[in-house]
Symmetry: C2
Subunit: 253 residues, 2 copies
């Protein structure tokens, strides 16, 4: 085996283990949050009550933490696959995350409206709204810039590091919002008895800790220089393919 392939093999040695760890944490996170909401917080329904509210944390965590985290790891997990294929998986996961987030937001607004609770007053809600707005902006700009044909190559290369930074930043904002939300929920439900750390309180805290661990594992995978996808030899081919399809040549620079 050539020396440079051996070097790359050594550099990539930790990647499958960290990906496996993040997947394990992701599954544990969804299972824990499901058990917590179903067994300790009253379960789920679509009836405007606190059972509908419970769909809010479930959907937001499935969408803007789990699916979002998976989406930003696709370029590390499918390092050898064709870039266009990986882009489509990345975008597909993000659109699923958007769908989950919309359901989660409708659930909390319907619950608030039924009980005449004001929307958007807490710091949790402010952080959440900032996260969702940035997520939508990032999805729209990313879609226009990287998936639709027509964007100039120099615009793409200018925007790529910003897209990568905001990709991680939005995941961090999601974690900030989730932790403040779970903390708030536990004070709403248990009030002064939160101190006694009943089963549901410990489970809620555990959910928060596992969310933080999942987010950290994803950030570790995406920030590691050696694990980044190598520059793509078929990138030009894809651009040419798009250009041929659309008769655009504005990205010929």
């Amino acid at each position: 085996m050539p020396v440079d392939q051996l070097d790359e093999g050594n550099q990539l040695r930790g990647l499958p283990w960290m990906v496996a760890l993040s997947q394990g944490l992701g599954v544990a996170m969804i299972v824990l949050i499901g058990i917590w909401l179903n067994s300790y917080m009253g379960g789920f329904a679509w009836d405007g009550t606190s059972k509908e509210f419970n769909l809010h944390p479930l959907c937001m965590i499935c969408g803007l933490v789990f699916l979002y985290g998976e989406a930003i790891m696709t370029y590390r997990i499918f390092r050898q696959s064709k870039k266009l294929k990986v882009k489509i998986i990345h975008a597909g996961l993000l659109f699923l995350a958007l769908f989950a987030a919309i359901v989660g937001l409708v659930a909390v607004f319907q619950f608030h409206n039924k009980y005449s609770i004001k929307n958007m007053y807490s710091l949790h809600s402010w952080c959440g709204m900032i996260t969702v707005v940035l997520f939508c902006l990032q999805l729209a700009i990313g879609f226009l810039c990287f998936l639709l044909p027509g964007a100039r190559a120099n615009l793409r290369s200018f925007y790529l590091p910003l897209h990568q930074f905001w990709g991680s930043a939005i995941l961090i904002l999601s974690a900030v919002t989730c932790i403040s939300g779970i903390n708030e929920k536990l004070f709403f439900v248990y009030k002064t008895t939160y101190q006694k750390l009943a089963g549901g309180a410990v489970m809620g805290n555990m959910c928060g800790v596992v969310i933080v661990m999942f987010v950290m594992s994803v950030l570790f995978v995406v920030q590691r220089q050696e694990w980044k996808r190598p520059p793509d030899e078929d990138e030009d081919a894809v651009s040419i393919h798009f250009r041929t399809l659309t008769n655009q040549d504005s990205d010929s620079e």
Copy 2:
């Protein structure tokens, strides 16, 4: 001017602006949190009451957000200074951060004990304790590995990317903990009237948003590849200097 110096000049163009932005946000954060705690939450005292509690958010934010953020930016701000000098500033700021965090922790434990409130039950406190423990570990290992002489060069180069990752991760954890803490405090103080968004509630929310903005600006500065400090030509000289001083040659590999 040689072409490579021109290139470097172009790449570094945004750095002073982003540093200035982060400094502005940092000062705004400390001023806002000071006004919020002093004018809306009852002010400060060292008497075990809620006035002592108010020193908890002030000290934790000054320490584990502001000073900590400044510390991890030192390698970007002093790109041209001697590495040993920058290391000492970095470590000095982190020891100041540790001191502020200790005062902040003593304040909250004394307040809890005076009113027989249990310590360490909320998700906020769990996240906070994880943050403080990781911060102390990172400080101790970083000190032993990078500032004290004797660490092998291959140990240093193995640990450096981990130290950098955990450096950012601890700042993220600090932000997570601050936002859940401010959110919790506002529900404690205003209860159901938080919805009315009185002056202190809006100020508290604003503090949270500015904390997030400061943390994001720091993370932006430290993650940008082109802004990283170039490999240090006098690094070996420093090691040799240490080696001569201490008669250690265990790091000769």
